[in-house]
């Protein structure tokens, strides 16, 4: 065993010396390889973290959202509508929500206005970041998301004016700014009380935007949705699982788009790496001949080159992956964020919680390290099985 370890140590020593002797080639190769891993890992880590984040966010949202439909379009929920649902077994809470969009021409951004309705009719639970502010803002006051505050350059205590869709100017005092850690879901949020919301949007009294239902047992969610569809044929129940799936699909799609956009570059890098790795210079061939002539077995030469391939590819993989980790989780994926997050004027500024998918790491490892090791081994195999007497004639 000790002899085996000593042999491997000698092979690694020689490999490191060989790598150092061909500094330019190997440094270039390492860089290209690390860049390739960096790009792939960045996209994968970012999309995976977003998916993770979306799942966490949705974990706090109601199990079912009920929208009323008119001519296939989302319409307001009229008074008495909720009462028609009646009592459905398994439903713990039914709440009406008030929310809408407002376009702010000053910063050319869309805000989400939402009324904080006092319990039990609070529709606020869907916004986990705003959970802390469970009491509705006072009349004439709003609570805003930190993305909005940053973009408009306002803070707590300032007054913000919006011209409503009816043309009237409304001024609100900012009572608070939502915490930055909720920015992924609250960057564009404006929270008002119910009366201010209705006044600002000229919202008809006793109408709601939609209705949320809390269902304790996940097994019963589909049954509840079916009963809702039967009781209210003009409604559309949206399940949390469906929303979650949609988010996953969106992030999958964006990841795919990103990889498709980068595919040409990735392919070019891969070809370059393959070419560099698989090309054996005359000097390398000569060295293999010498090693065989002085008593190295074909297996020793192949093992040595395998070490070389593993050292280069593992270092590049680690360097690329660590750089991608830092890029995604410490620098908010500054290079790919616009594509992966989506386009918006009000970009949420947030740091993703590190989430690594073991399967993804393994996949990336097998799709980068193994092809490289093969690329190194194939020409070496050919060179290593040639007769050692060639060196005598060189």
């Amino acid at each position: 065993m000790n002899q085996w370890i000593a042999r491997q140590r000698y092979l690694v020593d020689f490999t490191l010396a060989s790598l150092a002797r061909r500094k330019t080639k190997n440094a270039g190769l390492l860089l290209v390889f690390a860049l390739l891993v960096f790009v792939l890992a960045s996209v994968m880590l970012f999309a995976s973290a977003l998916r993770h984040e979306a799942t966490m966010v949705l974990a706090h949202s109601p199990e079912v959202i009920l929208q009323r439909m008119v001519a296939g379009r989302h319409d307001l929920v009229p008074p008495g509508y909720v009462e028609r649902i009646g009592r459905i077994r398994g439903v713990q809470k039914i709440e009406g929500r008030l929310w809408g969009y407002y376009y702010d021409p000053v910063v050319k951004a869309n805000y989400t206005f939402m009324a904080v309705v006092p319990a039990p009719a609070s529709g606020f639970a869907a916004r986990p970041g705003a959970r802390e502010a469970s009491a509705p803002p006072a009349a004439g006051e709003i609570v805003v998301g930190s993305g909005l505050a940053r973009h408009r350059g306002v803070q707590s205590g300032n007054v913000l004016s919006f011209r409503s869709y009816s043309g009237k100017l409304f001024s609100f005092r900012i009572a608070g700014v939502l915490p930055a850690d909720s920015e992924l879901v609250s960057a564009d949020l404006v929270l008002t009380n119910q009366a201010d919301f209705r006044a600002f949007f000229d919202y008809p009294a006793d109408h709601w935007t939609d209705v949320t239902l809390s269902v304790a047992n996940p097994q019963e969610v589909r049954t509840v949705a079916q009963k809702l569809a039967n009781a209210l044929p003009d409604s559309r129940p949206i399940l949390r699982d469906e929303v979650s799936r949609t988010y996953q699909s969106i992030f999958d799609w964006r990841e795919g788009i990103m990889l498709a956009l980068l595919s040409a570059a990735i392919l070019a890098f891969a070809i370059l790496a393959w070419d560099k790795a698989s090309g054996l210079s005359a000097e390398e061939k000569r060295e293999i001949g010498i090693l065989k002539a002085i008593g190295w077995e074909t297996g020793d030469v192949i093992r040595m080159k395998l070490w070389e391939g593993l050292l280069v590819s593992l270092s590049a993989f680690l360097a690329g992956y660590v750089a991608a980790y830092a890029h995604v989780f410490h620098f908010s994926a500054v290079l790919f964020a616009p594509v992966l997050k989506g386009w918006a004027v009000l970009y949420p500024k947030f740091t993703l919680a590190p989430a690594i998918d073991g399967l993804q790491v393994t996949t990336l490892f097998f799709f980068t390290v193994l092809p490289y090791a093969t690329a190194v081994l194939v020409p070496i195999w050919r060179a290593a099985v040639t007769d050692p007497d060639a060196v005598m004639r060189g």
């Binding site: 000698y10 020689f14 074909t298």
Partner: protein, 224 residues
Amino acid sequence: MIELRDIHKAFNEGRPNEYWALRGIDLDIAAGESTVFSGPSGSGKTTLLTLLGCLARPTRGRVRLGDEDISSLPERFLTEIRRRTFGFVFQQFNLVRGLSALDNVMLPAYPLGLPHRELRARAEAQLAALDLGHRREARVEWLSGGEQQRVAIARALINAPQVVIADEPTANLDTALSCQFMGILERLLDEGRTVLLTSHDPLVVESETVDRVVRLRDGRLVEP
């Protein structure tokens, strides 16, 4: 010690450019002797040396090393025999550029997995014995031709081989360095090693250190 019987060696056998480098060699090499293979270019000297040193196998014929027939051994076993029995000094020295003299000397012993301290001490001793102790850390491309050859000799001796094989050892050396080489050769013989050389340098062929000169022409032995 080494016995060759009816040795033939062909290159590109069965192809239009087939070439027979050796055509029926019968030869016995005694242990502890120095033998020089001499002859014009293309006479088959180097080919014969590669067969004797287990670098290649004959196309036909038998090679015996001691009691063992090694003519048809698989490459793995030939490598093992080559590593333990033979030390090679190539015409172009064939040192690995970019490595120090010491690392070059240690290279043939790497596959044996000896303890590093022991191997290093052995390599340093070989270099010191050839007056190269002070140059052990120098990269081989910085050494003079004579120094490079001595590194190549030290490398050939690192696994304590019974037989040292040198191909045209003085071809790249001036007279003084060639004489120095012959001195080293004498020392190797004094240590009880067998030495096999190819050369057409009169300084080697006519040297008193050489026990036997075997002449070749067109792949056949030339009777004296």
